[in-house]
Amino acid sequence: MRKIHIKNIIFFFLPALSLIVAFHFLYPNFFARGAHGLYGIFFSTSSGSETVGFFVGSQEEESLKRELEEARRNLVSWDLLLSENRELKALLGRGEEENRVLATVIGRPNASPYDTVIIDVGKKHGVSLDDLIVAQAVAIGKVREVFDKTSLVSLFSSPNEEVNLIVNPRSSTEENDENERGVVALSAEGLGGGSFRARVPEGMELFEGDLAVLPGLQSRVLGVLTDIVQLPNSSRTVLFRSPVNMRALRFVEVIKGS
């Protein structure tokens, strides 16, 4: 019995472990290109599916309908404001001249422990390292590795990932009507699943619903403030959540050269 066990360790586990260590330090991307090529064969087109809940209660349904109505009302002025914003930027010589590529998500964050996303565009489509990835105008991550036809995207909300953001007070909040608040620059840490956490120094006023955006002219939304936590003998911690569900991602846009 013991002989078999020792033999197993010597002939399989030790070489396997040393192989991993060797790959990690010497050739971290050695087989990644081949694996992505193979993956592209299975996912040449989108295969995403949307889950529809069958057991939504009538009360919840009513509340969802109300939310939808409210969102529609808010959207009425959206197009007008957007075109006005673009015109003003163009007048001031800072017009949007972004080069975007539409991409299909072929590997979702829950498929591995790394919280990464695989998209179906790569070097052949002009994608390069550190290009920004947006989904429905929400910034979600950056290109971490580029292959011929696919790219690996790391999410801003991945655990231990740090991102600088600016908190814009929402103009519609009641608190803002009473007291004019300025923008707040913070450094947030990813928590996974589209959530972020940031410590806020004393004296800074933030409220639920405030928008976190990436620093820059385009003000890309990163998340919405969902919770403020005050622990004893500790500074305040605020939690942000991305409006995009990372597990249900189907299409994203790559902003080239960002």
């Binding site: 991993i20 694996a35 299975f42 829950n110 591995s112 790394y114 695989i118 971490r144 991945s158 990932e161």
Partner: protein, 84 residues
Amino acid sequence: MISRVLSNFLLLLAVLYLPFWAFVILIAVFVFLFQNFYEAVFWALFVDFLHGSQTDLFFGFRFISTLLVIIILMFAELFKKRLR
């Protein structure tokens, strides 16, 4: 033999379409069902090569799935010997 080939095909589907936890559960089941199911390491390597990135997560180590599967294999072999 056929069941082993089928289980490997199932693992390929798990890598492509299922969440990671389902892949780990399948690996654990097959490791107990089959003798020396070392192919599991190959599938774990495939996951790592596809999704792994040298990010701050796991201190930049990009072979975490492979390591996990090797640990499962080691414990399974020990456990099976005790059961016999």
